[in-house]
């Protein structure tokens, strides 16, 4: 089971959880597993066509999945996914 780190703006959708364990062999499967556990995250992460929203950055460990294989990037049990939305507070 890999770990998904939840940013503050998504925590209301995960019942306040900051880290959610989720199953899946690749990034897309892990995120869909997250969305199954916490349905409110579905709309925030994915567009209607099932692709990742452009304003959501996802990192596998420290690397942006956009420079890897996107949602197809393989994920192993010990990996951490970081969901990163832009913030503008100052």
């Amino acid at each position: 089971m890999s770990t998904v780190k939840i940013p503050p703006v998504l925590r209301p959708s995960t019942g306040g959880e900051r880290e959610v364990p989720a199953d899946g062999g690749n990034v897309g499967e892990v995120l869909r597993s997250l969305a199954e556990q916490h349905p409110d995250t579905q709309r925030q992460l994915f567009g209607e066509d099932g692709t990742l929203n452009r304003y959501v950055n996802v990192y596998l460990n420290d690397e942006d999945v956009r420079v890897l294989d996107g949602l197809e990037t393989p994920v192993s049990e010990r990996d951490t996914l970081v969901i990163l939305p832009a913030m503008a507070g100052g």
Binding site: V9, Y55, N57, D64, V82, A86, M87, A88, G89, G90
Partner: protein
């Protein structure tokens, strides 16, 4: 016993002397490659390589002007410090002082007591050098008050006199004199940044005082730029404060940011962050960016064309529902202190060129977990802004993204 004048005469008889013109010629960049500037009056050895020129006068004399590139080793510290200037006993060294006497005595010491084999004293010293009309470099020196004020920086090899002078000559623009801007302004003023520009159109409110430590209860109701200026003056009157009591927008951004060496982004909204990015990429000014919300902070340095820009990291802003402000969501009062001081640290590193700047990396700070996470940020080869040369970024497209109008409407 010989008189002082006699001693100097005797010493000059046994050491080698060199005319300022010859020294000037040897210091000129060689046209035929290093070590081939043949014709020297003092033998092939001395002419083969550029000499190390050592100024043996006192500190204040050196500060008033010296031969460009000269190393300063006061005669009183000659024996203990000469190896810092030239450890190689066979390398050519030219010593000079004001008129050629102290350097003659110093040359004698280097030869007879320290075994330097290739030492000359420059005839007539810097006085004759100047009379001949040769270049003199006047180093920027610190006043005694500055020496004392910045003494802890001067002790750090990574900053030192050179780094402190860079700080004193630097111009840093702070966008926002709020949560992030407060600690940044205070610490950069303390560090001796020469010019601090402050952009903010807000006034001090009592709800700011939980985190905006540059303001005070007595200044509630004052413009933030005035309040911040007062605090900076109290801390370090040597800092020049330039106030912009306005909101940064497309109409004024180029005028405001141009000429600054580094920009500190602590603004509280997305449209301004994108606008700032586009303008600074065009002007090639690095931005030290941070944002905060709740217990979380993000930090990155966007150095145009050296690393990714803000749009490479965030091609599109989130919808308003996922982009709450601190006003709506709250923020731990200490958090902008933590993130602001990380920003101030990056500014000082950029100005002094010390260490590795946070370019191409994003640091996330989670105060509740007490954890830092570092992520890689890469340049996007298809970035709408920084994939193009700066001259091609037009004024019309700055700060624009596809759903800009809708976004701004939603964000209010």
């Amino acid at each position: 016993m010989a008189s002082g004048a006699e001693l100097i005469r005797q010493v000059k008889d046994r050491i080698a002397e060199v005319d300022p013109r010859e020294v000037r010629d040897r210091l000129r960049p060689s046209e035929n490659g290093a070590g081939s500037n043949g014709a020297s009056a003092n033998g092939a050895g001395a002419a083969a390589a550029k000499p190390v020129v050592v100024d043996v006068r006192e500190q204040h004399e050196f500060e008033e002007g010296h031969i460009p590139g000269a190393v300063h080793v006061p005669r009183g510290h000659l024996e203990s410090r000469i190896e810092g200037a030239s450890a190689d006993r066979s390398a050519p060294i030219v010593l000079y002082c004001a008129s050629g006497n102290r350097s003659a005595l110093a040359a004698d010491t280097l030869e007879r007591q320290l075994g330097y084999e290739n030492v000359e004293s420059m005839t007539g010293g810097i006085t004759l050098w100047k009379d001949r009309g040769f270049d003199v470099e006047v180093p920027r020196a610190l006043t005694p008050e500055q020496r004392s004020r910045y003494s802890r920086h001067l002790l750090l090899p990574e900053v030192g006199l050179e780094g402190q002078i860079r700080l004193l000559e630097s111009k840093v623009l702070l966008l926002g004199a709020g949560g992030l801007g407060s600690p940044v302004a205070l610490y950069l003023a303390a560090a001796g940044v020469g010019t601090l520009g402050l952009v903010d159109d807000d006034v001090v409110d009592v709800s700011n005082l939980q985190r905006q430590v540059i303001h005070t209860g007595a200044r509630v109701g004052e413009p933030k730029v005035d309040s911040a200026e007062e605090a900076i003056r109290d801390l370090n009157p040597g800092v020049e404060v330039v106030k912009y009591n306005t909101r940064l927008d497309a109409s004024n951004i180029m005028e405001i940011v141009e000429g600054y060496d580094v920009i500190v982004d602590g603004v509280d909204n997305f449209p301004t962050r994108y606008l700032l990015n586009d303008a600074t990429v065009r002007l090639q000014i690095p931005v030290v960016s941070a944002s905060i919300l709740g217990f979380d902070g993000q930090l990155a340095v966007f150095k145009p064309y050296d690393g990714p820009c803000y749009r490479c990291l965030y091609p599109t802003p989130p919808p308003a529902e996922l982009a709450p402000s601190c006003g709506a969501n709250g923020v731990l009062g200490v958090l902008p202190g933590t993130m602001g001081l990380l920003q101030a640290t990056e500014v000082i590193k950029l100005v002094t060129e010390a260490g590795d700047p946070l370019v191409g990396r994003l640091v996330l700070y989670d105060a509740l977990a007490a954890s830092f996470t570092e992520l890689k940020v890469r340049r996007d080869p298809e970035c709408p802004i920084c994939s193009r040369p700066p001259g091609e970024i037009s004024e019309e497209e700055m700060g624009v993204f596809p759903d800009y109008e809708a976004f701004c409407a939603a964000a209010g």
